[in-house]
Amino acid sequence: MNTPTTPNGGYSAANEVTMVKARRTFVQNLWRTLKTAPPTAWFGMLVIFLYLFVAFFAPLLAPHGQAEVFPMAYAPWSDEFRLGTDALGRDVFSRLIYGARNTIGIAVATTFLAFLIGGSLGLMAAISRNWLDQVLSRFVDVLMAIPSLIFALMLLSIFGSSAFNLICIIAVLDATRVFRLTRAVALNVVVMDYVEAAKLRGEGLVWIMRREILPNIMPPLVAEFGLRFCFVFLTIAALSFLGLGIQPPTADWGSMVRENAGLIQFAEYDLTAALTPMIPAAAIALLTVAVNFVVDWFLHQTSGLRDEH
């Protein structure tokens, strides 16, 4: 930036104020922030992008179809079947790639739905602060008094396991936590004068929610989105592993672990066979670690909500 000077060469504060400040573009700003990111955050982002890439281009990357059956069950690792085949003769490598799309897709959809429900109800409760707030808060208290995996198991036994039911059930159960957080952070914003002003102007509930409050509570919500995603992702993986989540023949990492778990007993003869069920489990773990790293850095960056120094 050139220094503000007067015609005779001295400094002038008045000139500095009137000078047009060269604004950084969004990309420049983003790059400046990213440059300060610690290596763990970089690692996390890299892993997330890799996963997204695989998920988007699954049909192009996978050598075989996800439900394509070959006449060789439990084939060892080879050039044709990079990670061997499973009990039905399906290519594990291809299923791993399709699994990225199915597992991550369902987890993202569930998290979005949870934020839509929990976020909007939380904002409404925080703004209105009347009987609606009371009813919703007590209802959430009760839902949170039951461990969510147990609750999910109970609901799945009533409605049956399908991908749609799974998304709805987990989203509703997770919305309770989103509701609590949204309500808590929104309560601090609702009492601000500009919200009062908007109410006096006669703005509607939705306008106040979207234009006055939401922009001011974004950082904690974004961080929570990452953490919720991890939680939802792990819950769905656990349910699929139990055989109650995503149903076959859709490829999914949780059920792949279960299907190939029997191979572990062959570890002393062929270590690669024993590793086959571990790879989808490791894929789940790696993504969760990556998201956690990024969220940690993001929280640090925006507010330092955590006590880490």
Binding site: V142, I150, I158, I264, E268, P277, A285
Partner: protein, 326 residues
Amino acid sequence: MHPILTTVIQRLGLGLLTLFVVSIIIFSSLEFLPGDFGQAVLGQAALPETVEAFRRELGLDKPPIERYINWVGNVISGDLGTSFSGRNSSGVDRSRDVWELIQPRLANTIFLASMTALIAVPLALALGITAALYRNSIYDRVVNSVTLTTISFPEFFVAYILILVFSTYFKVFPSLANISDATPFLEKIYRSSLPALALTLVIVAHMMRMTRAAIINLLASPYIEMAQLKGTSKAKVILHHALPNAWAPIVNVIAFNLAYLVVGVVVVEVVFVYPGLGQLMVDAVSSRDIPVVQGCALIFAGTYILLNLFADVISIITNPRLLHPR
């Protein structure tokens, strides 16, 4: 009345209320079943009369409130109804009592959970407190990053790694935790060691991080700084000033994680084919055996609520500010 007593009674009342609402939710899971579930349970060939008799046995011809009161009465006297499996279309009823199914498995799960708690709680507290006292040292960083990684792992991943390493590669422990009532006690411990270890790893990570955060939070409070500034010895600061205020957070951490154990036990039991309550519930969910699911859910949810209630009461009782009201 002493303010502590009022608070405790309030909290207990709230806990009972929660338990009541939760029981309504679990009870009403039977209401939400699709209308033709009698057919689904008894098979396609079931006569309309058999289905009708089955519905009558479940009491579906009576109003819901009457049924709820009956159900609660039965549950309190230990009668959880009879299982859906074992019934067939001809009306022959070989179904078993739910409590009979649950009871031996509940004992096994309690055994596994208490074994895990005995290892995990002291370990996690020791790790958490030392990490907080020597924070930002290499020790703290190593413990921290290891536990952060363990938290991100799904339970079954941890369990399978343990099986791969300790059971198939080095044959130290059996991979299947096949225990029964007849198994001698030491043998039981030996066979349950891998599931207990898997649960310990998962739970220690959570508990250690929460303990560390609670202690750091505590050590940052003004009265600790005051004590340090007036030259009190380090041991006295910790024992006299920090510890009385630390009970509440520590008990909370322990209860929270024991409650977490309730959930973790489901997945780990399935991995090791451990004959516990979690496995029973998963089997019942996949065969949609609602009375068994209800029974298991009631036990899990009840334990969870009671543990949290217990933690709350302890933290109220040990709170120095409430003990000496102005």
